[in-house]
């Protein structure tokens, strides 16, 4: 294709059109000037290097191009999640007897966690493990509360959210107990532990990573 566009002049044509063959040096100077005008941001040295086709060190830019933001899914807000009703338990499924196997499973899990619950195990160890353990399926009961009507509610724990325990009682009623200002009792194989709900206001998933400090009073 180049041959079509560019063709060498023959001597005769050159004489005819009165085109003078520029000298080699003049040609070179012309090329240099042309390049300088086209690429003004490059320095002389860089242009020379380019022409000589030296190996060029690839530059690295000190400020990167902004990476394109990954378009991740925003997730659902709490309102949308509640509307989805994923975590609701339907009334026909609210039966205490249905959740007893869950309780057995939980007991087994705790026993494994504490490497077998012997009567002489130290309570501190069990408490430390319980702090990080998952409590779904445990039988909890409210021992102390600022509101007297919550006291005495006992049942299997079905859901634990940031501020609330959802418990199903023996009479097949789903009770929602706020954690704030309540003391819960969890019993496993003769070891009774008291959970102070005011300090426990975390989602169960975040609780496993949190270090608990003894701050403030345990007075309700």
């Amino acid at each position: 294709m180049k041959s079509v566009i560019y063709n060498a002049f023959s001597q005769k044509e050159a004489k005819e059109f009165d085109v003078q063959h520029t000298g080699a040096q003049r040609a070179e100077a012309f090329v240099r000037a042309f390049l300088k005008r086209s690429m003004p941001h490059m320095s002389q040295q860089v242009r020379e290097d380019l022409l000589q086709r030296k190996a060029v060190v690839l530059e690295y830019f000190t400020h990167r191009k902004q990476k394109e933001k990954k378009k991740k899914s925003r997730g659902l807000s709490a309102k949308q999640r509640r509307e989805l009703r994923l975590f609701d338990i339907k009334p026909e499924q609210q039966r205490y007897s249905l959740f007893l196997p869950l309780h057995e499973l939980w007991k087994q899990y705790i026993r494994d966690l504490c490497n077998g619950l012997k009567p002489d195990t130290q309570p501190q160890m069990i408490q430390a493990k319980l702090l990080k353990a998952d409590l779904h399926g445990a039988i909890v009961s409210v021992t102390k509360s600022k509101c007297p009507s919550y006291v005495g509610v006992t049942g299997i724990l079905l859901q634990e959210t940031k501020h609330v325990f959802k418990i199903i009682t023996k009479e097949d009623r789903l009770k929602v107990i706020p954690k704030l200002n309540c003391v819960f009792t969890v019993e496993i194989d003769g070891f009774i532990s008291y959970i102070y709900g005011s300090k426990f206001q975390l989602r169960s998933s975040e609780r496993s990573a949190k270090k608990f400090k003894a701050k403030g009073t345990i007075d309700l």
Partner: protein, 363 residues
């Protein structure tokens, strides 16, 4: 600054003085006597009287027995058997003793069938019964009052309310107290408190009676129609109240300048009475008996007597949760709640009612 002002405040007392006549229809003397449930000490003073009359003595001796039970669990007081046997027939009252009202838990069973519990914060949170905070608590509420109506419970034996109360007292938080019990029966019943609580350490007591005769007592001159007193002719009700206190505590009234203990002197104008009898009964005394005593003292003036007036003073227990009816009572400085009748020979009477700081106004 606020703390300093608060510290400088003196806990208030309230003294209510009334005058009326026993013959009036609307006279409230019976109501006052009958609604003051827990009476610890009854004293009466009769000037110009050497020996007590026979009727008075018999009446005082017949102040029935009262019982003390140690370590009685609270659920015993809400069993249907107890309610049907004692609370419904007659008037049964019970009060915890050895329990300071402002520190520990206290309980009281009123004759009208209400059980009042005065609980501290931790006990209230653990027991799980609905109550209300006490009115004299301050910023941080430390005391709660739970009121259970036993008559209401007995009408519906298997109701949820009864189940809850019974569960709370038996399993959740079993409370045990030392009680003082007394029962005024209205029928000829066989059962007594002794036999009912025979499985607990129950003891019978009789009220202690002390009769003394005071010689050469300076008494103030009173006029029944002038409650506030007149400058030279009669003393006021306040002065009389102070003087009575001095007499009952056997203080010297001669205002000696070198007396260390007391420089109180009898309010003027006063007369000197040759002899006066002073009788004090101490124990757990029922209001019905005090009614009888009041009527007997009214009848004292049926025959003409030298004495211008007689007085009857009744003091309540310092640690009772209620003063009159169901008004709350607290200890604060002295825990006093008392009333005093001054009976004149024309059937007029003066009534003083005094309460301490943590108390509602008397009715």
């Amino acid at each position: 600054m606020a703390t300093l002002c608060r510290l400088r405040e003196v806990p208030r007392h309230l003294l209510v003085c009334e005058k009326s006549n026993f013959g009036h229809d609307k006279s409230r003397h019976r109501h006052i006597v009958e609604t003051h449930y827990y009476n610890y000490r009854v004293s009466f003073l009769i000037p110009e009287c050497g020996i007590l009359s026979k009727e008075l003595k018999d009446l005082v001796m017949a102040f029935g027995p009262y019982y003390s039970v140690k370590d009685l669990p609270l659920h015993e007081l809400i069993t249907h058997e107890f309610i049907n046997t004692f609370v419904k027939k007659g008037s049964c009252s019970a009060l915890t003793y050895n329990a300071n009202i402002d520190e520990d838990n206290a309980a009281a069973l009123l004759p009208n069938g209400k059980l009042i519990l005065s609980l501290d914060k931790d006990t209230y949170e653990e027991t799980g019964l609905q109550g209300r905070p006490s009115r004299y608590s301050g910023r941080k509420i430390m005391k709660f009052i739970v009121s259970i109506d036993l008559m209401d419970l007995s009408f519906h034996p298997a109701s949820k309310k009864y189940e809850r109360v019974s569960w709370a007292f038996k399993e959740k938080k079993p409370l045990r107290f030392d009680f003082l019990l007394a029962w005024h029966q209205t029928g000829a019943e066989e059962s007594t408190l002794m036999s009912y609580f025979s499985s607990y350490r129950i003891q019978e007591h009789r009220p202690k009676i002390a009769v003394s005769s005071v010689a050469d007592l300076q008494c103030p001159v009173l006029r029944s129609s002038e409650l506030g007193g007149q400058p030279d002719t009669a003393c006021s009700a306040l002065e009389l109240f102070d003087w009575l206190g001095a007499v009952f505590s056997h203080a010297e009234l001669n205002n000696e300048p070198d007396s260390f203990l007391s420089s109180y002197c009898c309010p003027q104008p006063s007369t000197v009475v040759a002899r006066a009898s002073l009788c004090t009964v101490t124990g757990f005394i029922l209001p019905e008996k005090i009614c009888l005593l009041l009527e007997q003292l009214c009848r004292y003036f049926d025959e003409p007597k030298l004495a211008p007036w007689v007085t009857l003073a009744v003091q309540g227990f310092a640690d009772s949760p209620v003063s009159w009816r169901e008004n709350e009572h607290g200890f604060r400085r002295g825990g006093e709640h008392l009333y005093n009748f001054v009976i004149f020979n024309n059937r007029d009477y003066w009534l003083h009612m005094a309460v301490g700081a943590d108390d509602d106004c008397p009715p």
